[in-house]
């Protein structure tokens, strides 16, 4: 029952809350501090944060752990910006 109610709370996580968690997750991988400081929904992982493309799979794994979801290959391909990741997380959490 406890697990269920926790899941419920997570489901109601706002976009802002997700972004805060996401910021913590991507921090170790970023190579452009300036872009990270000015992070918005439109921020692109590779072109703005200059994250090494190989590290995107590590971010996916960290997101899966943090949000208790599984991100399939199709969804992963869409994970290029903060906005797209938020959407995928929200979608998976509702599923």
């Amino acid at each position: 029952m406890l697990v269920l109610s926790l899941k419920n709370i997570q489901n109601k996580m706002t976009k802002e809350e997700i972004i805060i968690k996401l910021t913590t997750i991507v921090k170790p991988y970023i190579q452009n501090e300036e872009a990270f400081k000015n992070l918005t929904e439109a921020t692109d992982f590779m072109s703005d944060l200059e994250i090494n493309s190989a590290n995107l799979v590590d971010i996916v794994l960290d997101v899966e752990d943090e949000f208790d979801i599984i991100i399939d290959n199709d969804s992963m391909e869409k994970m290029l910006t903060i906005k797209s990741v938020v959407e995928i997380i929200q979608e998976k959490q509702l599923a």
Binding site: P28, Y29, A54, L56, V57, D58
Partner: protein, 429 residues
């Protein structure tokens, strides 16, 4: 640069070392002079049922790691061979007078050959467990680069921004000495100005286990680890496993002079060959004839006579093959008894660092030339009778000797019946 008709002199302008008895040149140099052992008891070897429960593992703090690798590089990092190689390689490059800057411009005149036996064996184990547990996607991005054999050259190549050849060689316990000679040839032939050469080996029971199974590791000294590695001793009972990395910056004399770099020594020449697992050679035993030819060909390449050799840094692992190695040296050099050069084995202090041994021992040999001393052999107060019949025991110093040294021969021999011998000379114009 044209590669025809070029015959550059090659000198050593930088050294780096991560050894069980010293991390960094200063500590290592002090340890080898005093005969300080880096061999300790390891409970995990005992727990896993190893016959040999002692080994040489360099001590690296978490703070030290952060001086060489970024927090991102250290995420999911589990490869001691790459860690040691990066520390030794970066130290050597800085020691040669270069700065390390991730935004440095690409340097097409510098390359690296950095060998290893296996890379990141603990990381490989992690991956195998995940895959067997149907979690292949959980490997993330860190598995391939840490477990590919060329992981170490890939890491160093990127950190230093090299644009010449960047590769990894592998020839068992000959690896480090082979890397040195491959880099030497490349500079001598005018293909590059500088080569960072070296080798590294993991600190892992998974690297060492197979040797324990072959019963070639020392098993009688678990209670007295520092006494366990006994090259040339009557009471030797096999080699003690070690680990670490050694690195040397080789450079054309022209480039070194142009940069006003400090020169440790000159690489006069050397030879790499194989016994082909013929005439007594096997996968694990050397063909004595080929070993001798490797040494004599190294002298020819260096254009010196055997009488010019002041000291030998042997392979000498503390197995039953030590006497055969000494016999091979006496035959190849045509010198024996009191006429034999001084000889020592670093393995008495650090154990057999396997793929890393040739590089760490080359660093020790070059330090001997630079600082004009011969480091002591520890644990061989009781020289093996087969050895004392061939050479005078005072040629096997058990205390450090300060001596004028001009030429040192260093050899390494490896499984697969492969040999390498390099000739170092004190630098003079």
């Amino acid at each position: 640069m044209s590669s025809t008709q070029v015959n550059n002199r090659v000198v050593i302008t930088g050294l780096g070392v991560v050894a069980p008895n010293g991390v960094g040149l200063e500590e290592f140099s002090k340890s080898i002079k005093y005969g300080t052992s880096g061999i300790t008891f390891h409970q995990n070897l005992k727990d896993k049922g190893f016959s040999c429960c002692i080994g040489g593992i360099p001590k690296i703090s978490e703070e030290k790691k952060l001086e060489y690798l970024t927090p991102l590089q250290l995420r999911g990092f589990n490869s001691t061979s790459i860690l040691y190689g990066c520390i030794a390689g970066i130290d050597a490059w800085k020691d040669a007078g270069f700065s390390v800057d991730e935004n440095s411009s690409l340097d097409y005149d510098s390359g690296l050959i950095f060998g290893t036996g296996t890379s990141g064996i603990e990381k490989f184990r992690e991956a195998i467990y995940k895959i067997d547990d149907q979690k292949v996607r959980r490997l993330g991005s860190t598995s391939v680069v840490q477990t590919m054999a060329s992981g170490i050259s890939a890491y160093l190549g990127g950190i230093l921004g090299f644009g010449n050849q960047v590769t990894t060689n592998s020839s068992a316990c000959t690896t480090g000495t082979e890397a040195l000679l491959l880099g030497f040839d490349r500079i001598k032939n005018g293909k590059t100005k500088r080569m960072l050469v070296g080798s590294s080996s993991d600190s892992s029971l998974y690297t060492w286990g197979g040797f324990d199974a072959m019963r070639v590791m020392s098993y009688k000294y678990n209670e007295t680890p520092e006494k366990g590695s006994r090259p040339m001793s009557e009471t030797a009972s096999g080699f003690v496993p070690g680990s670490g990395a050694g690195a040397l910056v080789l450079e054309s004399l022209e480039s070194a002079i142009e940069r006003k770099a400090a020169i440790y020594a000159e690489v006069l020449g050397g030879n790499i060959n194989s016994g082909g697992q013929r005439n007594g050679g096997t996968l694990t035993a050397p063909n004595a004839e080929a070993v001798q030819k490797c040494i004599t060909d190294a002298l020819l390449d260096a254009e010196i006579s055997s009488s010019e050799i002041d000291a030998i840094n042997g392979h000498l692992t503390a197995t039953s093959k030590d006497s055969l190695e000494i016999e091979n040296w006496t035959k190849a050099l045509q010198r024996n008894g009191a006429d034999f050069p001084y000889i020592n084995s670093l393995k008495s202090m650090v154990g057999h660092c396997l793929a890393a041994s040739g590089a760490i021992e080359s660093v020790a040999s070059v330090l001997q030339i630079k600082e004009q001393f011969i480091f002591p052999n520890i644990n061989c107060e009781d020289v093996h009778s087969e050895i004392s019949e061939l050479i005078s025991t005072d040629k096997i110093p058990t205390k450090m000797i300060q001596k004028e040294l001009n030429i040192i021969a260093k050899a390494s021999f490896g499984f697969g019946d492969v040999n390498a011998c390099v000739i170092f000379k004190k630098y003079s114009k």
